[in-house]
Amino acid sequence: MQKVVLLGDEAIAQGAIDGGVSGFYAYPGTPSTEIMEYAQSSKEAASKGIHRIWSANEKTAVEAAIGMSYAGKRAMTQMKHVGLNVAADAFVNASITGVNGGLIVVAADDPSMHSSQNEQDSRFYGDFTMIPMLEPCDQQEAYDMAYNGFELSEKFNVPVMMRLTTRLAHSRSGVERKPQKPELKGSLPQDPRQFVLLPAIARRNYKKLLGNLDSIQESANNSPYNKYIDGADKSLGIVACGIAFNYLMENYAGQCPFPVVKVSQYPVPRNHIEKLRSECKAILVLEDGYPLVERMLKGFFGAGIPIMGRLDGSLPRDGELNPNNVAAALGLRIVEGADVPEIVRNRPPSLCPGCGHRDMYNALNEALVEYGTGRVFSDIGCYTLGALPPFNAINSCVDMGASITMAVGASDAGLIPAVAVIGDSTFTHSGMTGLLDAVIKNSPIVVVISDNSTTGMTGGQDSHGVGRIVEICRGLGVDEKHLRVVNPLRKNHEENLAIFKEELAYQGLSVIIPQRECIQTAARRKRAASKE
């Protein structure tokens, strides 16, 4: 069968489509975005009527996926690692409700923080919810795991988590597809109260989950994704998780002299690990992300054979693995290239020429001169680039929606006026509830909803806020007199500046909405229109 060349993300989407999924639920976030984008552009998914519309945020996405599972169909929900924090309430409780139709939760981690504010390791979520967890080492496994993951979920009556990292999410390779499975027809859960987590039922469900752990462990021990690969040199045994397996094999051209346990399904396969311990003098753990398995093998007292990895300095404590740092941990000689010439300068990302956020920051910065710096709380999106020169305009970027609520807290502490800068998509993701807090207290803050009518940073996905931002603010109770819509264009600078100044001087809640479509999205829309 001819292979198709797919990104790791795309392989997951295709695997789910071929595996009988009925709905994808997600909010855009690097490096997970391309799973949904692939599903949205798939003709097969369209012809089957598979659900593939973006959700308002990761929590609503996971909840909708649980709902589809309840109704007896297979669902996939996918997000970046920090998105799983947003969805954690729903996700953790789904391990207690269990599933009806198979449910796969995909978390795409970003070690080295290429496009993220931390490098948290989602495997910890999988570990403490005690559900089966899959970590593909390559695109084919990504496909296979999505294809087979729904049955695994249905077999153990729990969600299955899939964890991958940026490198695999955004790397292409040939993938062999399998025959398409039909979607489930839909059916109610056999126990009508399975999803009712009243304490009495939750306690019963939890005991059921605990009672399942031995079988879940057994499934990992016998998983086709986990392997014990023998080697003649027993001075060292290696545990290689997910994509780390490839970096190991790269260094030995596929012929590792040491015994290796390849881990791609968790819980960690106890049978293989015990064999490794009994045969080898020391163990090196290769895992992208946090030292989860290393810590597990080491234990509290560090008794037993030496365990090496990120904790003992064999590998760097932070940042992603690569063929070179894995080679160093194995004591292999490294051929290095030339140094980067000192003439080379950093080239940080920047706001596009002509972007409306630029005009917004020009007005805001000028209006704030009389109050002094240090009072602008921002959020997550293209406008976060306002932190960099030439704007140097913002003082925070913490999590989705935090701009408004941090401004509220800072104004409570006497920092008046405080300013929040948030985009339209982030506002509908997690900003609306914070704005309600500000309305209730009439906080002396200026909330700038820089509305470019798209989800810009991740590549221009649909934003739930398009055409609705003003109505939402009105509905939440923002005073009409201090709800100002402006057009962020250079020619309007003086007029906009005056509005920013007026609202900064007001001792209550103001919302200013600079509204102009993202130039990238607008260009794409025009190109698409001219084709038709």
Binding site: H170, G174, M249, N322, V335, V340, V344, R345, L351
Partner: protein, 193 residues
């Protein structure tokens, strides 16, 4: 036979298009392929790179180890230099000489050219000018693909197949123009070898 290629440039300069053409051409010949890309934040005018590995045997790592790339193919001169740690000692740098200057401290062009000149194995061309002469200023990335073609272990026909597959939907005119740019790049590189 394995070819490790670092593709370099600035977000929006079309290096992923180059990667896609090589990828389609390689897979069409039943070769193995791994191609790691940068998505997300850096695409907003930041530096971007792609690790592209094609081989007649399975490829393990999605990333090329430092000191192992056969070529650096860059559509921008300063970006070509950024990835020198990845180039193997006898590897080639194939770069466009036209700077993409979107930062305040971009190096002086004469100093930058000196650094490029000093590289022991290189092909350095003005791809923007060549693309314009070939009929489309926007095809400078395809000119660079042409300039690198002799190092790819793929024939001109293979690459033409890649271009046809990728641009076919956009119409015959676009395909012809890009194939012209490919050949212009091949010729420009031949003059330097």
């Amino acid at each position: 036979m394995k070819t490790d290629i670092i593709l370099a440039g600035v977000g929006g300069q079309g290096i992923l298009t180059i990667a896609a053409i090589i990828g389609v051409a390689a897979v069409n010949k039943n070769m193995y392929l791994k191609q790691s890309e940068v998505h997300g934040m850096s695409q907003r005018g930041g530096d971007v790179q792609s690790h592209l590995r094609i081989s007649d045997s399975p490829v393990h790592s999605d990333l090329i180890p430092r000191g192992h790339a056969d070529i650096i193919l860059s559509v921008e001169p300063m970006e070509a230099l950024r990835y020198l740690p990845f180039l193997k000692p006898d590897g080639y740098v194939i770069t466009n000489l036209v700077p993409f200057n979107n930062i305040v401290d971009y190096p002086e062009e004469t100093r930058l050219n000196e650094k490029i000149d000093a590289l022991p194995r290189k092909v350095a061309i003005n791809a923007d000018e060549i693309a314009k002469e070939a009929g489309s200023a926007r095809a400078s990335n395809i000119v660079m693909l042409g300039a690198a073609s002799r190092f790819l272990n793929l024939s001109t026909e293979d690459l033409e197949f890649g271009i046809k597959s990728l641009f076919g939907r956009k119409g015959e005119e676009i395909v012809v123009m890009n194939i012209k740019a490919l050949h212009a790049g091949i010729e420009a590189a031949e003059k330097q070898m």
